[in-house]
Amino acid sequence: MVKLTDNEKNILRGGKGRLQQKALENIIRYAEVLGAEELCRVTKATLGLGAQPYLNHIQSDDYNKIFSRVYMCTDEVLDINHNKFSESCFCVTCTENCDSEDYEEVGLTKEYFDKNSRFLEIARAAGVSMASTCAPYLLGWLPLKGEHFVTTESSNAMFCNSLLGACGNPDGVEAAAWSAICGRTPKWGLHCAENRYATHEFKIECSAQSAMDWDVIGYTIGRILPAGGIPVITGDFGYPTIVEVKQLFASIATTSGAVMCHILGMTPEGQTMDMATGGRGVAGTFNVNEEDYKESLAMLCDDTPGPVDFVSLGCPHYTLEEIQDVANYLLGKNIMKGVRFHIWTAYPIKEMARVSGHLNVIENAGGRIMTSSCPIMVGESIMKGSRGVALDGAKQAHYIRSMTNAAVYYGDKYRCIDAALSGKWDI
Protein backbone atom coordinates (compact mmCIF):
# COMPACT_ATOMS: atom_id res chain seq x y z
CA MET A 1 0.00 0.00 0.00
CA VAL A 2 1.47 3.34 -1.04
CA LYS A 3 1.21 6.04 1.62
CA LEU A 4 -0.21 9.29 0.21
CA THR A 5 -0.10 12.87 1.49
CA ASP A 6 -3.26 14.97 1.69
CA ASN A 7 -2.26 16.75 -1.54
CA GLU A 8 -1.81 13.44 -3.31
CA LYS A 9 -5.15 12.18 -2.01
CA ASN A 10 -6.74 15.33 -3.42
CA ILE A 11 -5.17 14.76 -6.85
CA LEU A 12 -6.31 11.13 -6.73
CA ARG A 13 -9.89 12.23 -5.98
CA GLY A 14 -9.79 14.41 -9.09
CA GLY A 15 -9.26 17.73 -7.32
CA LYS A 16 -6.76 18.83 -9.99
CA GLY A 17 -8.67 17.44 -12.96
CA ARG A 18 -8.87 14.10 -14.74
CA LEU A 19 -5.47 14.34 -16.47
CA GLN A 20 -3.55 14.72 -13.18
CA GLN A 21 -5.78 12.11 -11.58
CA LYS A 22 -4.97 9.55 -14.29
CA ALA A 23 -1.26 10.41 -14.14
CA LEU A 24 -1.22 9.82 -10.37
CA GLU A 25 -3.17 6.56 -10.76
CA ASN A 26 -0.41 5.37 -13.10
CA ILE A 27 2.34 6.56 -10.75
CA ILE A 28 0.74 4.72 -7.81
CA ARG A 29 0.48 1.56 -9.90
CA TYR A 30 4.15 2.00 -10.87
CA ALA A 31 5.06 2.44 -7.18
CA GLU A 32 3.17 -0.74 -6.26
CA VAL A 33 4.95 -2.69 -9.00
CA LEU A 34 8.33 -1.51 -7.67
CA GLY A 35 7.39 -2.12 -4.05
CA ALA A 36 7.74 1.58 -3.12
CA GLU A 37 5.95 2.73 0.02
CA GLU A 38 5.64 6.43 -0.75
CA LEU A 39 6.06 9.02 -3.49
CA CYS A 40 8.42 11.97 -3.81
CA ARG A 41 7.88 15.39 -5.38
CA VAL A 42 9.38 15.88 -8.83
CA THR A 43 10.47 19.43 -9.61
CA LYS A 44 12.29 19.02 -12.96
CA ALA A 45 11.33 17.00 -16.04
CA THR A 46 12.56 16.56 -19.59
CA LEU A 47 10.06 14.90 -21.91
CA GLY A 48 10.10 13.19 -25.29
CA LEU A 49 7.35 15.17 -27.01
CA GLY A 50 6.51 16.32 -30.55
CA ALA A 51 5.96 13.88 -33.42
CA GLN A 52 8.09 11.05 -31.99
CA PRO A 53 8.19 7.97 -34.26
CA TYR A 54 6.44 5.66 -31.76
CA LEU A 55 3.33 7.83 -32.09
CA ASN A 56 2.98 6.57 -35.66
CA HIS A 57 1.60 3.29 -34.31
CA ILE A 58 -1.67 5.09 -33.53
CA GLN A 59 -3.75 5.60 -36.65
CA SER A 60 -5.11 9.01 -35.73
CA ASP A 61 -4.35 12.68 -36.17
CA ASP A 62 -6.02 13.59 -32.86
CA TYR A 63 -3.21 14.43 -30.41
CA ASN A 64 -5.50 13.91 -27.40
CA LYS A 65 -6.17 10.36 -28.56
CA ILE A 66 -2.50 9.69 -29.37
CA PHE A 67 -1.21 11.17 -26.10
CA SER A 68 -3.80 9.27 -24.05
CA ARG A 69 -2.98 5.91 -25.59
CA VAL A 70 0.80 6.17 -25.87
CA TYR A 71 1.78 8.24 -22.82
CA MET A 72 -1.15 7.73 -20.45
CA CYS A 73 -1.80 4.10 -21.47
CA THR A 74 -5.56 4.41 -21.68
CA ASP A 75 -8.25 4.26 -24.37
CA GLU A 76 -10.10 7.01 -22.49
CA VAL A 77 -9.42 10.22 -24.45
CA LEU A 78 -7.95 12.73 -21.99
CA ASP A 79 -7.86 16.42 -22.74
CA ILE A 80 -4.23 17.51 -23.00
CA ASN A 81 -5.19 20.70 -24.88
CA HIS A 82 -6.84 22.35 -21.90
CA ASN A 83 -4.91 20.89 -18.97
CA LYS A 84 -1.63 22.13 -17.57
CA PHE A 85 1.18 19.88 -16.43
CA SER A 86 2.14 20.10 -12.74
CA GLU A 87 2.68 23.74 -11.77
CA SER A 88 5.48 22.76 -9.36
CA CYS A 89 7.52 20.82 -11.96
CA PHE A 90 9.64 22.70 -14.53
CA CYS A 91 9.14 20.73 -17.75
CA VAL A 92 11.18 21.06 -20.93
CA THR A 93 11.34 19.08 -24.15
CA CYS A 94 14.07 16.51 -24.76
CA THR A 95 15.66 16.03 -28.19
CA GLU A 96 13.24 16.10 -31.12
CA ASN A 97 13.32 14.11 -34.35
CA CYS A 98 14.05 17.03 -36.68
CA ASP A 99 16.19 20.16 -36.85
CA SER A 100 14.20 23.08 -35.41
CA GLU A 101 14.11 24.89 -38.77
CA ASP A 102 15.43 22.79 -41.65
CA TYR A 103 13.59 19.54 -42.40
CA GLU A 104 15.02 19.21 -45.92
CA GLU A 105 18.65 19.04 -44.76
CA VAL A 106 17.80 16.01 -42.61
CA GLY A 107 15.72 14.31 -45.31
CA LEU A 108 12.28 14.85 -43.75
CA THR A 109 9.07 16.24 -45.28
CA LYS A 110 7.21 19.48 -44.66
CA GLU A 111 4.23 17.34 -43.67
CA TYR A 112 6.28 15.78 -40.85
CA PHE A 113 7.73 19.15 -39.82
CA ASP A 114 4.26 20.72 -39.58
CA LYS A 115 2.92 17.78 -37.56
CA ASN A 116 5.86 18.04 -35.15
CA SER A 117 5.26 21.79 -34.77
CA ARG A 118 1.55 21.23 -34.13
CA PHE A 119 2.21 18.57 -31.45
CA LEU A 120 4.83 20.78 -29.77
CA GLU A 121 2.41 23.71 -29.75
CA ILE A 122 -0.02 21.60 -27.70
CA ALA A 123 2.78 20.71 -25.25
CA ARG A 124 3.71 24.40 -25.03
CA ALA A 125 0.11 25.31 -24.16
CA ALA A 126 0.18 22.61 -21.45
CA GLY A 127 3.11 24.38 -19.78
CA VAL A 128 6.13 22.61 -21.29
CA SER A 129 9.03 24.91 -22.25
CA MET A 130 11.09 24.25 -25.35
CA ALA A 131 14.71 23.20 -24.73
CA SER A 132 14.84 20.30 -27.22
CA THR A 133 18.24 19.06 -26.18
CA CYS A 134 19.85 15.99 -24.64
CA ALA A 135 22.01 18.34 -22.52
CA PRO A 136 19.47 20.66 -20.81
CA TYR A 137 22.01 21.27 -18.03
CA LEU A 138 23.83 23.53 -20.51
CA LEU A 139 20.73 25.75 -20.64
CA GLY A 140 19.90 26.11 -16.96
CA TRP A 141 17.63 23.09 -16.48
CA LEU A 142 19.55 21.99 -13.40
CA PRO A 143 18.14 19.78 -10.64
CA LEU A 144 20.49 20.21 -7.68
CA LYS A 145 21.48 17.99 -4.78
CA GLY A 146 18.58 16.11 -3.29
CA GLU A 147 16.11 17.38 -5.92
CA HIS A 148 14.02 14.72 -7.68
CA PHE A 149 13.85 14.77 -11.49
CA VAL A 150 12.61 12.68 -14.40
CA THR A 151 14.17 12.60 -17.86
CA THR A 152 13.87 10.59 -21.04
CA GLU A 153 17.60 11.01 -21.79
CA SER A 154 19.97 8.53 -20.14
CA SER A 155 23.08 10.74 -20.44
CA ASN A 156 21.18 13.55 -18.73
CA ALA A 157 20.05 11.22 -15.94
CA MET A 158 23.68 10.19 -15.49
CA PHE A 159 24.88 13.82 -15.41
CA CYS A 160 22.27 14.95 -12.86
CA ASN A 161 22.64 11.96 -10.52
CA SER A 162 26.43 11.80 -10.64
CA LEU A 163 27.65 15.38 -10.90
CA LEU A 164 24.79 17.37 -9.41
CA GLY A 165 23.71 14.93 -6.71
CA ALA A 166 20.09 15.17 -7.88
CA CYS A 167 17.94 12.01 -7.85
CA GLY A 168 16.38 10.30 -10.87
CA ASN A 169 15.72 6.79 -12.18
CA PRO A 170 15.81 5.66 -15.79
CA ASP A 171 12.09 5.15 -16.15
CA GLY A 172 11.12 5.97 -19.67
CA VAL A 173 8.92 8.16 -21.79
CA GLU A 174 5.56 7.20 -20.26
CA ALA A 175 6.52 7.52 -16.56
CA ALA A 176 8.32 10.81 -17.25
CA ALA A 177 5.04 12.20 -18.61
CA TRP A 178 3.02 10.88 -15.64
CA SER A 179 5.49 12.50 -13.23
CA ALA A 180 5.55 15.80 -15.12
CA ILE A 181 1.74 15.94 -15.03
CA CYS A 182 1.14 15.00 -11.38
CA GLY A 183 4.52 16.10 -9.97
CA ARG A 184 5.27 12.76 -8.27
CA THR A 185 7.39 9.65 -8.76
CA PRO A 186 7.83 6.49 -6.63
CA LYS A 187 10.40 6.97 -3.84
CA TRP A 188 12.50 4.04 -4.94
CA GLY A 189 15.88 3.24 -6.53
CA LEU A 190 18.13 6.29 -6.98
CA HIS A 191 15.57 8.48 -5.19
CA CYS A 192 16.78 6.82 -1.95
CA ALA A 193 20.28 7.51 -0.56
CA GLU A 194 20.98 3.85 0.26
CA ASN A 195 20.75 2.84 -3.41
CA ARG A 196 23.22 5.42 -4.72
CA TYR A 197 26.46 3.80 -3.53
CA ALA A 198 29.12 2.45 -5.88
CA THR A 199 29.22 -1.32 -6.38
CA HIS A 200 32.26 -1.67 -8.67
CA GLU A 201 35.57 0.16 -8.90
CA PHE A 202 37.13 1.00 -12.26
CA LYS A 203 40.83 1.87 -12.09
CA ILE A 204 41.82 3.97 -15.10
CA GLU A 205 45.21 2.96 -16.46
CA CYS A 206 44.79 4.22 -20.04
CA SER A 207 45.08 7.75 -21.42
CA ALA A 208 42.44 10.08 -19.88
CA GLN A 209 43.34 13.47 -21.30
CA SER A 210 40.72 14.35 -23.91
CA ALA A 211 36.99 14.24 -24.60
CA MET A 212 37.56 11.21 -26.83
CA ASP A 213 39.58 9.42 -24.12
CA TRP A 214 36.75 9.88 -21.63
CA ASP A 215 34.19 8.85 -24.27
CA VAL A 216 36.04 5.57 -24.90
CA ILE A 217 36.63 5.02 -21.17
CA GLY A 218 32.90 5.39 -20.52
CA TYR A 219 32.08 3.01 -23.35
CA THR A 220 34.50 0.47 -21.84
CA ILE A 221 33.17 0.82 -18.28
CA GLY A 222 29.63 0.27 -19.53
CA ARG A 223 30.68 -2.87 -21.40
CA ILE A 224 32.21 -4.38 -18.26
CA LEU A 225 29.84 -3.17 -15.53
CA PRO A 226 27.57 -5.97 -14.19
CA ALA A 227 23.80 -5.37 -14.53
CA GLY A 228 22.46 -3.09 -11.81
CA GLY A 229 25.97 -1.91 -10.89
CA ILE A 230 27.13 1.63 -10.08
CA PRO A 231 30.77 2.43 -10.94
CA VAL A 232 33.30 4.45 -8.99
CA ILE A 233 36.15 5.67 -11.20
CA THR A 234 39.61 5.86 -9.64
CA GLY A 235 43.13 6.42 -10.93
CA ASP A 236 45.87 8.92 -11.50
CA PHE A 237 44.13 11.40 -13.79
CA GLY A 238 43.16 15.07 -13.83
CA TYR A 239 39.45 15.51 -13.18
CA PRO A 240 37.49 15.56 -16.45
CA THR A 241 36.19 18.93 -17.68
CA ILE A 242 32.53 19.58 -18.56
CA VAL A 243 33.25 18.62 -22.18
CA GLU A 244 34.99 15.40 -21.11
CA VAL A 245 32.56 14.36 -18.39
CA LYS A 246 29.59 14.80 -20.72
CA GLN A 247 31.17 12.21 -23.07
CA LEU A 248 31.97 9.85 -20.19
CA PHE A 249 28.41 9.86 -18.88
CA ALA A 250 26.79 9.47 -22.31
CA SER A 251 28.89 6.47 -23.23
CA ILE A 252 28.55 4.61 -19.88
CA ALA A 253 24.78 4.97 -20.32
CA THR A 254 25.08 3.58 -23.87
CA THR A 255 26.72 0.25 -23.05
CA SER A 256 25.11 -0.25 -19.63
CA GLY A 257 21.87 0.55 -17.85
CA ALA A 258 23.63 2.68 -15.23
CA VAL A 259 22.58 6.31 -14.73
CA MET A 260 24.84 7.00 -11.75
CA CYS A 261 28.63 7.04 -11.54
CA HIS A 262 31.07 8.31 -8.92
CA ILE A 263 34.44 9.84 -9.82
CA LEU A 264 36.61 9.55 -6.73
CA GLY A 265 37.32 12.97 -5.22
CA MET A 266 35.28 14.83 -7.84
CA THR A 267 31.58 13.96 -7.72
CA PRO A 268 29.71 15.14 -4.59
CA GLU A 269 28.80 11.68 -3.31
CA GLY A 270 32.21 10.19 -4.11
CA GLN A 271 34.63 12.45 -2.25
CA THR A 272 36.23 9.43 -0.56
CA MET A 273 36.00 5.68 -1.21
CA ASP A 274 34.06 5.30 2.05
CA MET A 275 31.53 7.89 0.93
CA ALA A 276 31.21 6.39 -2.55
CA THR A 277 30.57 2.87 -1.27
CA GLY A 278 28.71 3.78 1.92
CA GLY A 279 31.51 2.12 3.87
CA ARG A 280 30.57 -1.25 2.39
CA GLY A 281 33.42 -1.50 -0.11
CA VAL A 282 32.92 -2.67 -3.69
CA ALA A 283 31.84 -6.07 -4.98
CA GLY A 284 34.51 -6.05 -7.68
CA THR A 285 37.40 -4.06 -9.17
CA PHE A 286 38.28 -3.75 -12.87
CA ASN A 287 41.26 -2.10 -14.55
CA VAL A 288 40.71 -0.12 -17.75
CA ASN A 289 44.00 -0.30 -19.67
CA GLU A 290 45.21 0.55 -23.18
CA GLU A 291 44.13 -2.89 -24.46
CA ASP A 292 40.54 -2.32 -23.27
CA TYR A 293 40.64 1.14 -24.84
CA LYS A 294 41.74 -0.30 -28.20
CA GLU A 295 39.08 -3.02 -28.00
CA SER A 296 36.35 -0.39 -27.52
CA LEU A 297 37.76 1.73 -30.32
CA ALA A 298 37.67 -1.26 -32.67
CA MET A 299 33.97 -1.69 -31.85
CA LEU A 300 33.26 1.95 -32.64
CA CYS A 301 35.35 2.63 -35.75
CA ASP A 302 35.55 0.62 -38.99
CA ASP A 303 39.09 -0.56 -39.70
CA THR A 304 39.36 0.04 -43.44
CA PRO A 305 39.98 3.47 -44.95
CA GLY A 306 37.31 4.83 -47.26
CA PRO A 307 35.35 7.81 -48.54
CA VAL A 308 33.43 10.02 -46.11
CA ASP A 309 30.46 12.09 -47.24
CA PHE A 310 28.66 12.77 -43.95
CA VAL A 311 30.30 14.14 -40.80
CA SER A 312 28.33 14.79 -37.62
CA LEU A 313 29.75 16.26 -34.40
CA GLY A 314 28.00 16.81 -31.10
CA CYS A 315 26.79 13.78 -29.15
CA PRO A 316 25.79 14.88 -26.55
CA HIS A 317 24.96 18.35 -27.93
CA TYR A 318 27.98 20.60 -28.21
CA THR A 319 28.82 23.33 -25.73
CA LEU A 320 29.76 26.79 -27.04
CA GLU A 321 33.36 25.96 -26.17
CA GLU A 322 33.37 22.94 -28.48
CA ILE A 323 31.83 24.97 -31.30
CA GLN A 324 34.57 27.57 -30.80
CA ASP A 325 37.21 24.82 -31.11
CA VAL A 326 35.69 23.72 -34.42
CA ALA A 327 35.52 27.30 -35.73
CA ASN A 328 39.17 27.94 -34.80
CA TYR A 329 40.26 24.76 -36.55
CA LEU A 330 38.13 25.42 -39.63
CA LEU A 331 39.09 29.07 -40.08
CA GLY A 332 40.22 29.63 -43.67
CA LYS A 333 39.57 26.01 -44.71
CA ASN A 334 36.91 24.49 -46.93
CA ILE A 335 34.81 21.36 -46.46
CA MET A 336 35.22 19.04 -49.46
CA LYS A 337 32.45 19.47 -52.05
CA GLY A 338 29.86 16.72 -51.65
CA VAL A 339 30.53 16.28 -47.91
CA ARG A 340 27.78 17.34 -45.50
CA PHE A 341 29.22 18.62 -42.21
CA HIS A 342 26.87 19.02 -39.23
CA ILE A 343 27.44 20.24 -35.69
CA TRP A 344 24.54 19.45 -33.35
CA THR A 345 23.65 21.65 -30.39
CA ALA A 346 20.74 23.34 -28.62
CA TYR A 347 19.28 26.38 -30.42
CA PRO A 348 20.23 28.94 -27.72
CA ILE A 349 23.85 27.77 -28.07
CA LYS A 350 23.63 28.15 -31.86
CA GLU A 351 22.51 31.74 -31.26
CA MET A 352 25.50 32.28 -28.94
CA ALA A 353 27.73 30.83 -31.67
CA ARG A 354 26.18 33.26 -34.16
CA VAL A 355 26.78 36.36 -32.06
CA SER A 356 30.28 35.11 -31.19
CA GLY A 357 31.16 34.83 -34.89
CA HIS A 358 31.70 31.03 -34.86
CA LEU A 359 28.61 30.28 -36.95
CA ASN A 360 29.88 32.54 -39.71
CA VAL A 361 33.27 30.79 -39.80
CA ILE A 362 31.65 27.34 -39.89
CA GLU A 363 29.16 28.29 -42.61
CA ASN A 364 31.87 29.98 -44.69
CA ALA A 365 33.82 26.71 -44.58
CA GLY A 366 30.74 24.87 -45.87
CA GLY A 367 29.47 23.44 -42.57
CA ARG A 368 26.17 23.76 -40.73
CA ILE A 369 25.15 24.16 -37.11
CA MET A 370 22.01 22.06 -36.58
CA THR A 371 19.74 22.16 -33.54
CA SER A 372 17.30 20.23 -31.36
CA SER A 373 18.01 16.74 -32.68
CA CYS A 374 20.83 14.44 -33.92
CA PRO A 375 21.31 11.72 -36.56
CA ILE A 376 20.08 8.83 -34.39
CA MET A 377 16.96 10.79 -33.42
CA VAL A 378 16.23 11.82 -37.02
CA GLY A 379 16.80 8.30 -38.32
CA GLU A 380 18.16 6.93 -41.56
CA SER A 381 16.76 9.73 -43.76
CA ILE A 382 19.62 11.96 -42.65
CA MET A 383 22.26 9.66 -44.16
CA LYS A 384 20.75 9.84 -47.69
CA GLY A 385 22.68 6.92 -49.14
CA SER A 386 26.00 7.93 -47.58
CA ARG A 387 29.02 5.73 -48.20
CA GLY A 388 30.99 6.82 -45.15
CA VAL A 389 29.91 8.52 -41.93
CA ALA A 390 32.35 10.12 -39.44
CA LEU A 391 31.25 10.85 -35.86
CA ASP A 392 32.88 12.13 -32.66
CA GLY A 393 30.38 10.65 -30.19
CA ALA A 394 30.64 7.01 -29.09
CA LYS A 395 26.90 6.85 -28.39
CA GLN A 396 26.19 8.07 -31.91
CA ALA A 397 28.68 5.63 -33.48
CA HIS A 398 27.27 2.75 -31.43
CA TYR A 399 23.63 3.21 -32.41
CA ILE A 400 24.04 4.45 -35.98
CA ARG A 401 25.43 1.09 -37.10
CA SER A 402 21.97 -0.47 -36.96
CA MET A 403 20.58 2.38 -39.12
CA THR A 404 22.95 2.46 -42.09
CA ASN A 405 25.00 0.31 -44.42
CA ALA A 406 27.63 3.06 -44.70
CA ALA A 407 31.08 2.69 -43.18
CA VAL A 408 31.04 4.17 -39.66
CA TYR A 409 34.16 6.00 -38.47
CA TYR A 410 34.70 7.32 -34.98
CA GLY A 411 37.39 9.73 -33.80
CA ASP A 412 37.97 13.07 -32.11
CA LYS A 413 36.53 16.25 -33.61
CA TYR A 414 39.79 17.19 -35.37
CA ARG A 415 40.05 13.84 -37.10
CA CYS A 416 36.40 14.10 -38.14
CA ILE A 417 36.98 17.64 -39.48
CA ASP A 418 40.01 16.37 -41.41
CA ALA A 419 37.74 13.73 -42.97
CA ALA A 420 35.28 16.49 -43.92
CA LEU A 421 38.09 18.51 -45.52
CA SER A 422 39.55 15.60 -47.50
CA GLY A 423 36.39 13.53 -48.09
CA LYS A 424 38.07 10.41 -46.78
CA TRP A 425 38.98 8.53 -43.60
CA ASP A 426 42.61 7.48 -43.39
CA ILE A 427 43.57 4.73 -40.99
Binding site: Y30, V33, C73, P170, D171, G172, V173, T254
Partner: protein
Amino acid sequence: MKTVLKGRGAIKGIAEGEALVCPDSIQGWAGIDEITGVIIEKGHVEEGTSINGRVLVIPSSKGSNCWSGHFNSAMINGVKPAGWVVTQIDSRVGVAAVVVGSPMVVDFSEIDPCKVIKTGDWIKVNGDTGEVEISQK
Protein backbone atom coordinates in the same frame (compact mmCIF):
# COMPACT_ATOMS: atom_id res chain seq x y z
CA MET B 1 7.12 -32.63 -12.87
CA LYS B 2 6.09 -29.30 -11.44
CA THR B 3 8.28 -26.83 -9.61
CA VAL B 4 7.04 -23.72 -7.83
CA LEU B 5 9.17 -20.58 -7.37
CA LYS B 6 8.15 -17.85 -4.98
CA GLY B 7 8.66 -14.18 -5.77
CA ARG B 8 6.65 -10.99 -5.30
CA GLY B 9 3.51 -10.39 -7.33
CA ALA B 10 4.00 -7.06 -9.13
CA ILE B 11 1.04 -7.09 -11.54
CA LYS B 12 -1.99 -9.03 -10.37
CA GLY B 13 -3.72 -11.74 -12.35
CA ILE B 14 -2.93 -15.21 -13.60
CA ALA B 15 -1.35 -16.01 -16.97
CA GLU B 16 -0.12 -19.18 -18.59
CA GLY B 17 2.17 -19.70 -21.52
CA GLU B 18 5.32 -21.13 -22.95
CA ALA B 19 8.49 -19.70 -21.37
CA LEU B 20 10.82 -17.52 -23.41
CA VAL B 21 13.99 -17.29 -21.33
CA CYS B 22 16.40 -14.41 -22.03
CA PRO B 23 19.28 -14.67 -19.50
CA ASP B 24 20.83 -11.47 -20.92
CA SER B 25 17.46 -9.69 -21.09
CA ILE B 26 16.41 -7.84 -24.28
CA GLN B 27 17.86 -4.44 -25.18
CA GLY B 28 15.51 -1.47 -25.55
CA TRP B 29 16.74 0.18 -28.74
CA ALA B 30 16.54 -2.31 -31.67
CA GLY B 31 15.59 -5.12 -29.24
CA ILE B 32 12.18 -6.17 -30.56
CA ASP B 33 10.36 -5.48 -33.81
CA GLU B 34 7.52 -3.22 -32.67
CA ILE B 35 5.07 -4.62 -35.23
CA THR B 36 5.71 -8.37 -34.95
CA GLY B 37 7.27 -8.63 -31.47
CA VAL B 38 10.13 -10.65 -32.93
CA ILE B 39 13.47 -10.26 -31.10
CA ILE B 40 15.82 -8.47 -33.51
CA GLU B 41 18.76 -7.82 -31.15
CA LYS B 42 21.91 -8.97 -32.97
CA GLY B 43 23.41 -12.12 -31.43
CA HIS B 44 20.54 -12.57 -28.94
CA VAL B 45 19.97 -16.24 -27.94
CA GLU B 46 16.34 -15.95 -29.04
CA GLU B 47 16.89 -13.72 -32.09
CA GLY B 48 14.02 -14.36 -34.52
CA THR B 49 11.52 -15.52 -31.83
CA SER B 50 8.41 -13.46 -31.06
CA ILE B 51 7.54 -12.43 -27.50
CA ASN B 52 3.83 -12.56 -28.33
CA GLY B 53 1.82 -14.78 -25.99
CA ARG B 54 4.94 -16.07 -24.24
CA VAL B 55 5.92 -15.83 -20.60
CA LEU B 56 9.00 -13.66 -20.77
CA VAL B 57 11.69 -14.68 -18.26
CA ILE B 58 14.39 -12.01 -17.83
CA PRO B 59 16.90 -10.96 -15.15
CA SER B 60 16.03 -7.24 -15.46
CA SER B 61 15.98 -4.63 -18.27
CA LYS B 62 18.91 -3.66 -20.47
CA GLY B 63 19.96 -0.35 -22.08
CA SER B 64 17.80 2.59 -23.26
CA ASN B 65 16.01 4.86 -20.82
CA CYS B 66 12.87 4.28 -22.87
CA TRP B 67 12.86 0.46 -22.60
CA SER B 68 9.14 0.42 -21.85
CA GLY B 69 8.33 2.44 -24.98
CA HIS B 70 9.28 -0.43 -27.28
CA PHE B 71 6.93 -2.86 -25.48
CA ASN B 72 4.28 -0.12 -25.49
CA SER B 73 4.53 0.25 -29.28
CA ALA B 74 4.35 -3.54 -29.75
CA MET B 75 1.29 -3.72 -27.51
CA ILE B 76 -0.45 -1.00 -29.53
CA ASN B 77 0.19 -3.26 -32.53
CA GLY B 78 -1.48 -6.17 -30.69
CA VAL B 79 1.68 -7.97 -29.58
CA LYS B 80 2.66 -8.54 -25.92
CA PRO B 81 3.96 -11.18 -23.54
CA ALA B 82 1.25 -13.15 -21.72
CA GLY B 83 3.16 -12.77 -18.48
CA TRP B 84 6.52 -11.82 -17.03
CA VAL B 85 8.96 -13.45 -14.61
CA VAL B 86 11.73 -11.02 -13.59
CA THR B 87 14.62 -11.98 -11.30
CA GLN B 88 15.10 -8.46 -9.93
CA ILE B 89 12.82 -5.58 -10.82
CA ASP B 90 14.27 -2.23 -11.94
CA SER B 91 12.59 1.03 -12.87
CA ARG B 92 12.51 0.35 -16.62
CA VAL B 93 10.80 -3.02 -16.06
CA GLY B 94 8.43 -1.35 -13.59
CA VAL B 95 7.18 1.09 -16.22
CA ALA B 96 6.87 -1.66 -18.85
CA ALA B 97 4.83 -3.68 -16.34
CA VAL B 98 2.33 -0.85 -15.89
CA VAL B 99 2.21 -0.09 -19.61
CA VAL B 100 1.69 -3.70 -20.77
CA GLY B 101 -0.42 -4.86 -17.80
CA SER B 102 0.30 -8.60 -18.12
CA PRO B 103 0.66 -10.54 -14.82
CA MET B 104 4.17 -10.21 -13.45
CA VAL B 105 6.15 -11.86 -10.62
CA VAL B 106 9.50 -10.31 -9.58
CA ASP B 107 12.26 -10.24 -6.95
CA PHE B 108 13.40 -13.82 -6.47
CA SER B 109 15.92 -13.77 -3.64
CA GLU B 110 16.90 -17.45 -3.49
CA ILE B 111 16.53 -19.06 -6.90
CA ASP B 112 17.15 -17.25 -10.19
CA PRO B 113 14.28 -18.13 -12.55
CA CYS B 114 16.56 -17.47 -15.54
CA LYS B 115 18.64 -20.45 -14.42
CA VAL B 116 15.79 -22.79 -13.46
CA ILE B 117 13.27 -22.17 -16.25
CA LYS B 118 14.07 -23.36 -19.79
CA THR B 119 12.62 -21.95 -22.98
CA GLY B 120 9.61 -24.09 -23.89
CA ASP B 121 8.62 -24.96 -20.29
CA TRP B 122 4.94 -24.30 -19.55
CA ILE B 123 4.66 -21.52 -16.98
CA LYS B 124 1.80 -20.35 -14.80
CA VAL B 125 2.43 -16.84 -13.47
CA ASN B 126 0.30 -15.94 -10.47
CA GLY B 127 0.61 -12.22 -9.81
CA ASP B 128 -1.83 -12.50 -6.88
CA THR B 129 0.25 -14.93 -4.82
CA GLY B 130 3.73 -14.33 -6.31
CA GLU B 131 3.97 -17.99 -7.33
CA VAL B 132 5.47 -19.20 -10.59
CA GLU B 133 4.59 -22.80 -11.48
CA ILE B 134 6.94 -24.53 -13.93
CA SER B 135 5.91 -27.63 -15.91
CA GLN B 136 8.99 -28.89 -17.70
CA LYS B 137 8.54 -29.69 -21.36
